[in-house]
């Protein structure tokens, strides 16, 4: 009963983690091998994939006999796979660039906005982009330097690889190795709980997630970016600067199943899914034009 070797078997947290990795690999291998009457393959951004996964589930439920395979691998894989015909549709967490417009056609299915959050008791109402950069580089480390209390700033950053981090760094022209963080968080909820529990914290999370938690009474507030209020409305109308469109891309004008699925993903039938994942829905009439507007 007390042989030390047992610790290897009883240490369940790590064992489950590794087993989970093994099995998920096995499952991926199996799912890509099975066939159905009609099949649609989407690959690309890890930001878009969970959303499309949920949309695909609903689409499959409404259209028996159709199977939709969603795989992640980053926006660049989405474009590459769509271009080589390995996937019917690519998923990217940005708009199409001007030089990509010739080869691809983009369809925006939702938008994602990132807002700066502070504790509700923090008297600071706005900070400039330059101040954000200085704070994240560690050159400014006290709130009184930006018009707040006499207190040290707790800088909350996101873990490596998250697309929220990428968008944040890109907008503020930072390298992650320059950031002097006090706390590194995983998902939005952890970020919101961290800021809600620390009156001196500054963090950034998905605006949809922050608005939901504020409505639930969480003591945080969203700060404007570049004088534009951080709300789902400003994200939706495109005026909020720290946002991006989640886009489906195809190489040829969509037909048949591909077209039907894109229409479904842009329709109001999936707006509840979009909101549940903390993204901002766009109406389908706007989608095509916004795709062009954000191509820069």
């Amino acid at each position: 009963m007390t042989h030390p070797f047992q610790s290897l078997f009883l240490n369940s947290t790590r064992r489950n983690l590794l087993l989970g990795m093994g099995f998920s690999l096995l499952l991926t291998a199996c799912s890509s091998g099975s066939s159905a009457d009609q099949k649609l393959t989407l690959t690309g951004s890890s930001t878009v994939a969970p959303l499309i996964g949920e949309i695909a589930k609903r689409y499959e439920a409404e259209n028996p006999g159709i199977r939709i395979d969603v795989q992640t691998g980053g926006s660049s894989r989405g474009l590459a796979d769509a271009s080589q015909g390995l996937a019917d549709i690519g998923m990217i967490s940005r708009g199409l660039k001007a030089e990509e417009e010739g080869e691809f056609q983009g369809f925006v299915i939702a938008k994602d906005g990132i807002g700066l959050i502070v504790h509700g008791d923090n008297p600071v109402q706005a900070i400039s982009d330059q101040q954000v950069v200085d704070i994240y580089k560690g050159e400014v480390d006290a709130w009184q330097a930006v018009g707040g209390n006499n207190a040290p700033i707790t800088v909350v950053n996101k873990a490596e690889g998250r697309s929220t981090l990428e968008l944040f760094l890109k907008y503020f022209e930072l390298e992650n190795s320059e950031v002097q963080a006090d706390v590194v968080i995983g998902d939005n909820q952890q970020g919101i709980k961290t800021v809600a529990g620390n009156p001196n914290a500054l963090g950034y999370v998905s605006i949809g997630a922050a608005e939901y938690d504020i409505a639930q009474g969480s003591p945080i507030k969203l700060l404007p970016v570049d004088k534009i209020a951080a709300t789902t409305e400003t994200v939706q109308d495109g005026s909020f600067p720290l946002s991006r469109p989640l886009t489906l891309v195809v190489t040829e004008p969509p037909m048949g199943l591909t077209q039907d699925f894109i229409n479904f993903a842009q329709s109001e039938q999936v707006h509840d899914i979009v909101r549940a994942q903390n993204f901002v829905p766009v109406s389908s009439s706007l989608a095509q034009t916004q795709s062009e507007a954000t191509a820069n």
């Binding site: 070797f5 093994g22 490596e160 006090d182 952890q190």
Partner: protein, 268 residues
Amino acid sequence: MAAIAATLLLWIACFVVAEAWPAIAQVGISSFVADTSWNPTEGLYNLWPMLVGTLLVSLGAVSLAIPLGLGSAVFCQFYAPPLLASLYRRLIELLAGIPSVVYGFWGLVTLVPLIGKLHPPGPSLLAGVIILALMILPTIALTADASFEQVPPSYRQGTEALGFSRWGMVWRVMLPAARSGLGTGVVLATGRALGETMAVLMVCGNVVQVPDSLFAPVRTLTANIALEMAYALDLHRSALFVSGVVLLALVAGLIALAEIVFGREAVP
């Protein structure tokens, strides 16, 4: 059954090493301790601060949990009246059954703000040590309780006949007699502390650095895997499997050590 378990375990180990291989081959082992930082998307792969973080959090938690756990087992076995001891035992078992994410959540909304008031920012090595100590306390308390139970009653009767004080009996006779079982409990608890993920991820702050104080945030190897695995590609992903290999090696080392210290002794 044992063969199945062993094969599965071996298969997992091979899988982890195979997944880690591209990073080891292309980046080189020296990069994992010599690079300037952990920024895998910029090609920097220093795991050293996270290895230190894992060891510090685990050692801190174990050294806090050993006196508490032993104390509670001693209280249960030798001091408390039977009814209270039985109630107390149920309580400890309940503590063992709470999922780690609940500990983590409690730590995030209660413990971390408390530490933050004492010494900002709050998420810290100390928070991780306290949460982990709470989580492994039942393992130590229950195994210690069980090993005291297994000490032959004649030992106790003997000490009573010789007129030992109660503390003298515990300290001079019971602790040495139950030594092997107590050691195993500590090894089990240390293994759990090294492998714990969710709770430390939520309270430790996860900044990749060698902490300079108890109030500085740290990231453990397990938290690193959980934070980044879902979003990692190619070499970054492979580098995370290197974290997994390091963890496996750490636990294997721990077991080897335990084997040397306790291996040849018969269980009472």
